[in-house]
Subunit: 273 residues, 2 copies
């Protein structure tokens, strides 16, 4: 059996000191480096593989401090505080530059938790949208590898076809899943949390230079809800709240087809002009 | 001239190795430890005081790993990556336990940035609400010190007066400012980002045990907008998106009186039952 392309991309090898080594996959390449979502998923994978882990991913913050290149990366996931049912992690991604010196290219923190059943409620309902079967798949950015790894069916806010500066809002809603079917887990949830093209391209209908600088993911889903989602679509929704002096935010949600809120996520991106 | 109570609470003393030492202030005490917002502001202060800082606060994530007690804390703010106009920070708060051993009680990361003027736009408008003068001030939680440090005028979603399990949503909107006037800066913006009482208390009209576990703040404001805000009120709005198995999220915004978006902020809190 061949490993799914996503699992190939996330492959990590444990090192004697507790760190992991991996290599960013060309299959999830963005413009000039790995897709931010695959880097986030790699960090989650280092946590999942750690022998001292307590519970499942609950919260993750990743800061893209510097461009990641094509060479091997060293992933550090260090549990710094273990409570009765929660655990706090410090995350680092290191990569050697051309002179062989390692630089810290990504920083982060995470929490894992043992979930206990409680009163629960989704306050933000899934928007009323047509089912994925009723929405046409789009193929965009043919030169951008990671985009080809996902099946995307935009309901609203698809990529502009005319770049005329005439955008009116930054709301995107799309059905998304792995192009090659793969049952949903915390790794693919992390990756799909970054699945939106830049909000400023939509709002301005202008493809200005842009890049995510920090990403936070809250995992509301537990393992049972992941299993129930399986290889089905997620409805992914994203919108910016403010664009100011070179940075804008994005607030986003992912629901499964039955309307269960699986993730709420936020990021800040820089832009030029 | 007497230092403002907020600045007294944030006082830090530089240590030879680059760390800072401070003492959580009783004036900002919550139920069983310092108010989360004052801890966030303390972390920001360590960055602002650091001799190698580049630019102003842009993004902050704080993880409340363990209860903080009344004794001194050691604050570590370490610049781990400095780019041309942005800088990435790793943050730690340490406190000695009863046996004298130091524990890491708070983790975090931050970004600072030199802002440059660009095309800018607030996509999320300030809600239409009555001006602060037209809204009555509430006095609540008389035993909780930090609450007394703020003047709060709720427009919607005030603290329930009947705890009957009959809540219908978790939206709160309130005008807020320092009770003792103090011009707004990044420190007070960080603190006011955590100014909301727990969303689950409003949604359920039940005062279940609760505590913030992680908080992320995006600072959209620049120094000029802070100066323009001065000692005026902020409109603070918060709502949960999902409550699930012991954790709920909160997404929030702060605008100044002229309607400028200053902060977008998110947090995850645990709850019991």
């Amino acid at each position: 059996m061949t490993l799914h392309v996503f699992d190939q991309a996330l492959a990590l090898t444990a090192q004697p000191g507790g760190d992991f080594v991996g290599t960013p996959s060309p299959a999830y390449w963005n413009m000039v480096g790995p897709y931010g979502g695959i880097t986030a998923a790699t960090m989650v994978n280092a946590i999942l593989l750690h022998p001292q882990r307590l519970g499942d991913p609950l919260a993750l913050t990743i800061n893209y401090a510097s461009a990641v290149g094509a060479g091997p990366v060293r992933v550090v996931a260090r549990p710094v505080r273990t409570n009765r049912s929660t655990q706090h992690w410090v995350l680092e991604l290191w990569q050697a530059g051309s002179d062989g010196t390692e630089d810290m290219v990504t920083t982060g923190t995470a929490m894992t938790s043992v979930r206990r059943a409680t009163w629960s409620l989704d306050e933000l309902p899934m928007p009323a949208v047509p089912p994925p079967e009723a929405v046409e798949q789009v193929h965009m950015f043919a030169q951008v590898e990671w985009v080809q790894r996902y099946e995307m069916r935009p309901v609203a806010g698809a990529i502009p076809t005319v770049w005329d500066g005439g955008g009116s809002n930054s709301l995107t809603q799309l059905w998304v899943r792995d192009a090659e079917p793969r049952p949903l887990d915390f790794l693919s949830l992390a990756s799909m949390s970054d699945t939106f093209y830049p909000r400023i391209w939509l709002r301005r209908a202008l493809p200005v230079p842009v890049g995510t600088v920090t990403l936070t993911i809250y995992f509301h889903a537990d393992s049972a809800q992941l299993a129930a989602t399986g290889t089905g679509f997620l409805l992914a929704q994203a919108q910016a709240q403010g664009f100011r002096n070179g940075f804008y935010d994005q607030t986003a949600q992912l629901w499964n087809e039955e309307g269960r809120l699986l993730v709420t996520t936020h990021q800040l991106a820089y832009y030029k002009e």
